[in-house]
Symmetry: C2
């Protein structure tokens, strides 16, 4: 059952949750910029069935990085080279990748349920999604 931990860990950071409007607020980038960076393959946000971009927390991280790099004077090409050079997460390809989105979300919820949280100052919630984001 070790892989479940690894899995949910990866899932919660890679699950596409955020629409572009929120990412704009979080990163203070314009939609144009975000799409431009995608065009140049610095990010690869998921798409809904209707073709709308959906971003993961990892995507947001990357965008914040890109912003910093640009501030530091790098250009897109340089940043891309940086990313291309980064060692590819080897574990990534070893993991069972053939899980549907639905299955992954179910996984998340399941672990939610089974990790009963004792109490909390302000109430007595039974479940808490936020535990999956660190």
């Amino acid at each position: 059952m070790k892989w479940v931990k690894l899995m949910t860990n990866r899932v919660r950071r890679t699950m596409p949750l955020l629409p572009i409007s929120i990412v704009m607020q979080l990163t203070e980038l314009t939609a144009r910029q975000i799409r431009y960076y995608e065009e140049h393959e610095l990010i690869n946000p998921a798409r809904t069935e209707g073709n709308k971009r959906m971003f993961s927390l990892n995507d947001v991280d990357t965008l914040l990085e890109i912003k910093e790099y640009l501030d530091q004077g790098l250009n897109i090409a340089g940043i891309k080279k940086l990313y291309d050079t980064k060692e590819i997460p080897k574990n990534e390809k070893a993991e069972p990748k053939n899980l549907s989105d639905a299955e992954l979300r179910k996984l998340l919820r399941e672990e939610l349920k089974h990790q009963a949280r004792p109490f909390e100052k302000g109430g007595f919630r039974q479940s808490d999604l936020t535990r999956f984001f660190k």
Copy 2:
């Protein structure tokens, strides 16, 4: 500076990030159900300028709770009574609430920056939003 910790802690759980489509997936509730629960004041999702609902992680938690309670045979009225009875988080009102959304997001980003993360198996990110969700 202690309140910043408290603040970001509260912020990351109450910041409206998720559109209803994602919440539907996360909770396996229909849009109709979610709106119905809001109508009966079990949740109170934020709204965009254009009136679209935006949900926080706390909202998702609450929805998962509601689902469980309904499964357990409670009805809306019962659940509402439960929530109304819950002690109101006293600290809530003591905290400086007069911060704009923009300021709160800035706060988040700032703390991101200053908490430089050493390294990571798969790369060398400089910032990481996910740290704000636990």
